[in-house]
Symmetry: C2
Subunit: 137 residues, 2 copies
């Protein structure tokens, strides 16, 4: 499958990418000559990863008829100090809360996303050390 995108320089350090009708404005911080009108580009890699696996997990849990009250994914990362500054490690902590949650079903949903469905995880696994754990409150 092929998909094409356009990113446009707006002003100063700001760039905008249109994704299926949604405009993502990115900008550098004041320190790096920007105006902080939007997020830095690199941490969007974290949003992409957690959004991808999060949506997998929510839809698998729905099929399993598991209802959670809250669901957060915390990401701990390590980045090189030298150029090109890039992620070398990402550790995801999937945190669920709810009433009488079925631990084994939740673990299975997360594992299915990580092993089979999440295309962002599949990509990062080739390039960095990716790990995860599940916490149920």
């Amino acid at each position: 499958m092929k998909e094409n995108y356009v990113t446009s320089w707006k002003d100063n350090m700001a760039f905008e990418t249109e994704i299926t009708g949604h405009k993502i404005l990115m900008d550098a911080s004041d320190k790096f000559g920007g105006n902080d009108q939007g997020p830095r580009p690199k941490p969007l890699l974290i949003a992409a990863l957690t959004g991808c696996t999060g949506m997998d997990v929510v839809s698998i849990l729905k099929k399993m008829k598991v209802k959670v009250d809250s669901f957060d994914i915390k990401t701990e990362t390590e980045i090189t100090d030298e150029h090109p500054k890039t992620y070398t490690k990402m550790h995801l902590i999937y945190e669920f809360s709810g009433k009488d949650l079925d631990k084994s079903k939740i673990n299975k949903a997360v594992k299915l996303s990580q092993d089979k469905y999440c295309g962002v995880s599949a990509l990062y696994e080739k390039a960095l050390e990716l790990s995860y754990e599940v916490k149920i409150k």
Copy 2:
């Protein structure tokens, strides 16, 4: 260097990641049970890449005293048809317009970003086929 992030499930298929004070809301399309309140997570990988290299190029061109009128980065991608659905190819087309643009300086700025500075390119190069070209109008 270490950095931590939190992504929270909002409702239905929507997730939100906070990046240095900016909230990124992601959502699935109606077809996949979402409400299209934000972009899909996976194409954020394109925003991350083009924003990262775009900011490099703008700041290098500024140091070189090269002024451009417009600067777009078009991205052509290929994605696997099977799960995990992931990018296998990305081709960037850097398009510049302006008066009497110095082609060799612009080529050098793009090459410096791709070879030395852009941490997102460095990561993707380990996981997929990444290529680019420069067009000056």
